[in-house]
């Protein structure tokens, strides 16, 4: 993998003006050079279609078999016409479109293709942030001499990705990341959209507030309660009023409604929580199955935590029984952690303490909260062990980045924290 600069991260304190160096991390992109948001179209489906070209033009759903319990991971545009969307239960999708083709997901394969795309993007601009497996932000500052004006540049980029991978994408161009992201969404599928500086407000005005990244169901519902449906209506509310209603988040909302700025985007770049759930194909009481599922969930969450260079303070376990009764139980160890073993030990402890062994379990979930990048407390008594676990995690992460998540797993042979 090429070295990919990221400016994911952090609310950095205001840059000290006396500091002579300007790193890509904090350098604001020039106002005229837009930021590009590259979003792969129906990524999982597109990757599957590479192996199954005969399915092109058909409604395709990735997620599992239609009689399984899981949810839709991705749906082709043809399937979306039937009302199928991601995160919908597979059974609902099957009801909406009985003729759809249902495929099992192959996440290792997707992350391989994601890496290939990251390499292509890395050759195109030195500043690339992979925001997730299928989307990335590119700072186009300084690329003009190589690739020409922005719109021409992203046109080339889109064709290049298509030719070298066979995968379609949409690209949005805007003065801020927020505008670029909204633009790529509007450009789908396989489109390009440039929002020139100065026309952001007009572009955003008529969109529903839900289209702004970071505004989820909860905020949208709160705004709806105030009679606010569109971005224009949101922009019309004074920042003071929004702050009164939503606290610090209100200030961010106001900036979002105006098309945001780089600093504003960085606030939301850090996740507030990381969680993974698993719904069992058959409800289970089998502790071995529960433990191994928990192990898998904790490792997935831990990997994402480390990828984001964060550590978590609180570990929350969700147990949903066959009756659909759902319980969440949390524990906050003395120190924040980013180690799979610590997360797993805590999750297992919570499960052992709170599980009603008479009831079969339908779903297990692990959530990490209290995320931050702050330094780690070093250990007085067994510094070596911690050091080893850390090295192990990094090595495992590197292997997973190359070969896929499932290629390397925690064994039962590792000591767990607390054993001595």
């Amino acid at each position: 993998m090429p070295k990919i600069a990221t400016y994911r991260a952090k609310k950095t304190p205001p840059v000290d003006n006396s500091a002579p160096s300007i790193s890509p991390r904090t350098a604001p992109s020039s106002l005229d050079t837009p930021i590009a948001h590259v979003d792969m179209d129906a990524f999982f489906v597109s990757v599957e279609l590479l192996a199954h070209p005969e399915l092109r033009g058909k409604p395709v759903v990735v997620g599992g078999r239609p009689d399984q319990r899981g949810i839709v991971s991705a749906a082709s545009y043809e399937a979306r016409r039937f009302g199928i969307h991601s995160a919908m239960p597979l059974r609902t999708a099957a009801r909406l479109c009985p003729g759809a083709v249902f495929l099992d997901p192959h996440h290792a394969l997707y992350s391989e293709w994601s890496d290939r795309i990251a390499r292509i993007l890395g050759e195109f601009s030195p500043v690339v942030e992979m925001a997730s497996v299928d989307e990335a932000y590119l700072d186009l500052s300084g690329t003009e001499r190589m690739h020409g004006p922005p719109l021409a540049a992203v046109h080339t980029l889109r064709n290049h990705i298509r030719q070298s991978t066979g995968l379609p994408c949409s690209i949005g161009l805007g003065r801020t990341r927020l505008v670029a992201k909204v633009a790529s969404d509007q450009a789908k599928p396989a489109g390009l959209l440039w929002i020139p500086a100065g026309s952001e407000a007009a572009f955003l005005a008529l969109l529903p507030v839900r289209k702004l990244p970071g505004i989820g169901e909860v905020t949208a519902a709160a705004l709806r309660g105030m009679g606010v449906e569109t971005v224009a209506q949101l922009a019309a509310i004074s920042p003071e009023k929004l702050q009164e209603l939503f606290g610090q988040w209100g200030t961010a909302l106001h900036r979002k409604a105006l098309g945001g700025d780089t600093f504003e985007f960085l606030i939301d770049a850090q996740p507030k929580s990381i969680s993974h759930n698993h719904t069992f194909a058959d409800d289970t009481r089998d502790l071995a199955v529960l433990d191994s599922t928990l192990s898998h969930l904790c490792q997935k969450a831990g990997k994402r935590l480390r990828d984001a260079r964060l550590s978590a303070r609180t570990i929350t376990l969700t147990i949903r029984y066959a009756s659909f009764k759902t319980y969440t139980r949390a524990h906050t160890p003395a120190e924040a952690t980013d180690l799979d073993q610590v997360i797993l030990a805590t999750a297992k402890e919570l499960l052992a303490k709170h599980r009603d062994s008479r009831q079969a379990i339908r779903l297990l979930g692990v959530a990490l909260t209290g995320l931050g990048a702050a330094g780690r407390q070093l250990d007085l008594l067994d510094s070596d062990r911690h050091e080893k676990l850390e090295k192990l995690a990094r090595a495992a992460d590197r292997l997973r980045d190359r070969f896929g998540f499932d290629k390397i797993q925690l064994g039962g042979s590792l000591r767990e924290p607390g054993d001595s």
């Binding site: 952090k10 609310k11 950095t12 304190p13 303070r313 160890p333 003395a334 120190e335 924040a336 030990a345 402890e349 209290g370 931050g372 702050a374 330094g375 780690r376 407390q377 070093l378 250990d379 007085l380 008594l381 067994d382 510094s383 924290p417 607390g418 001595s420």
Partner: protein, 370 residues
């Protein structure tokens, strides 16, 4: 069972048992006190199975016997009763009648047969000076681990030698060690025991309740520790297992040393840590030629920087520490100069009060990687 006691005297002993009575217990009898009237004494016992407190007060016993009474209700009621005599009488069905003047109450008791038996105290091993022990517990108990999973760290190690006593506690991130000279009559060999956190707290209460020059008689059997001072007895289950080899982690070659006034350092740390990351409480400590610079920053709150001026000729160094760990120690150390001794960014730092002529007190604290 029928007896009467003086309210104030009874209340004082009742208060001492409250730390032990379980609030949320799955075993109902453990929320009760065992009251035993015999001769001219009332003995009360509380236990949570890990820790037992037994104490007594003078009583006029009309009829000897024993019963159990809900501890919390009894305490609340006795607190509210006027000063003077309170009469107790065991009724049928284990109920206990309480009469003060013309006020009558009946509390639902439970059979005394169900109350856990209290182990017999073995012969006294050694007498500990109460004031000294109480002081030493205050200097160490805050460093005991809160994590139940780190079993052997959930207590402090009490080490008795023929001519010295020491207590050491650690949670794996910092370690507090205090030693004092004291001649123990009749002690020929070293005795080391692990005392659970809760027992340490109760022992300190007990030591503080007694007179300045009171003594605590210490003894042990296979599974319990016994501390008796006067009529009060504390029994704790031993923590079994191996306390970590703490001597191996005590710093030996920390050569970057500055002595700072305790209050000055304490105040500066408290201010600077206001702007530290609320999760990690990380504060940077830098030794420079100007002195010691303390700084902290957090994305939510802002940043802080303070310099405590102090001549320093050694190599400059910057180390991150958890401010809470530092402040815990400063609150327990005596006034005057504190020697801050560092080695490098990854090795344990050491803090020692220089003005303490009674105790050899050292605090070892691991840095944070920032």
């Amino acid at each position: 069972m029928e007896f009467s006691v003086d309210k104030q005297e009874f209340l004082r002993e009742l208060n001492l048992t409250q730390g032990v009575v379980e609030r949320k217990t799955t075993i109902p009898i453990l929320s009760n006190l065992l009251c035993e009237a015999k001769g001219n004494t009332l003995t009360i016992t509380a236990t949570d199975l890990e820790l037992t407190i037994r104490t007594s007060c003078d009583a006029k016993v009309k009829k000897e016997g024993a019963g159990t009474i809900p501890a919390k209700k009894l305490l609340e009621l006795v607190r509210l009763l006027p000063d003077g005599e309170i009469k107790f009488k065991l009724l049928d069905n284990h109920w206990v009648q309480v009469v003060s003047d013309r006020k009558t109450y009946k509390l639902v008791g439970m059979s005394k047969e169900n109350f856990p038996s209290v182990p017999a105290t073995p012969h006294v091993l050694v007498a500990l000076p109460a004031g000294l022990i109480s002081n030493m517990i205050a200097k160490t108990s805050f460093a005991i681990s809160m994590e139940e999973s780190r079993y052997t760290l959930s207590g402090a190690k009490l080490l008795l030698k023929p001519d010295a006593v020491s207590i050491v506690a650690t949670d794996g991130h910092r370690l507090a060690l205090v030693e004092a000279d004291h001649k123990f009559a009749g002690l020929n060999a070293e005795v080391g025991v692990l005392v659970p956190k809760k027992a340490m707290a109760e022992l300190k209460n007990l030591a503080a309740e007694g007179a300045e020059d009171a003594e605590i008689e210490f003894s042990q059997d296979e599974s319990n520790l016994f501390f008796r001072t006067g009529k009060r007895l504390l029994i704790s289950r031993k923590l079994t297992g191996q306390f970590p080899n703490y001597e191996a982690v005590l710093p030996r070659d920390n050569n970057k040393i500055i002595a700072l006034d305790r209050d000055e350092l304490n105040d500066a740390l408290r201010r600077v840590s206001q702007l530290a990351d609320s999760r990690s409480r990380a504060v940077k400590m830098a030794f420079t030629q100007e002195g010691v610079e303390l700084s902290a920053s957090s994305p939510e709150y802002g940043e802080a920087r303070e310099i405590i001026e102090k001549p320093y000729k050694g190599d400059p160094i910057t180390v991150g520490f958890n401010a809470t760990y530092m402040l815990d120690f400063l609150a327990a150390a005596v006034q005057g100069l504190i020697s801050v001794e560092l080695k490098d960014e990854q090795s344990a730092g050491q803090l020692r009060p220089l003005g303490d002529d009674k105790f050899r007190y050292r605090y070892v604290i691991m840095p944070m990687r920032i």
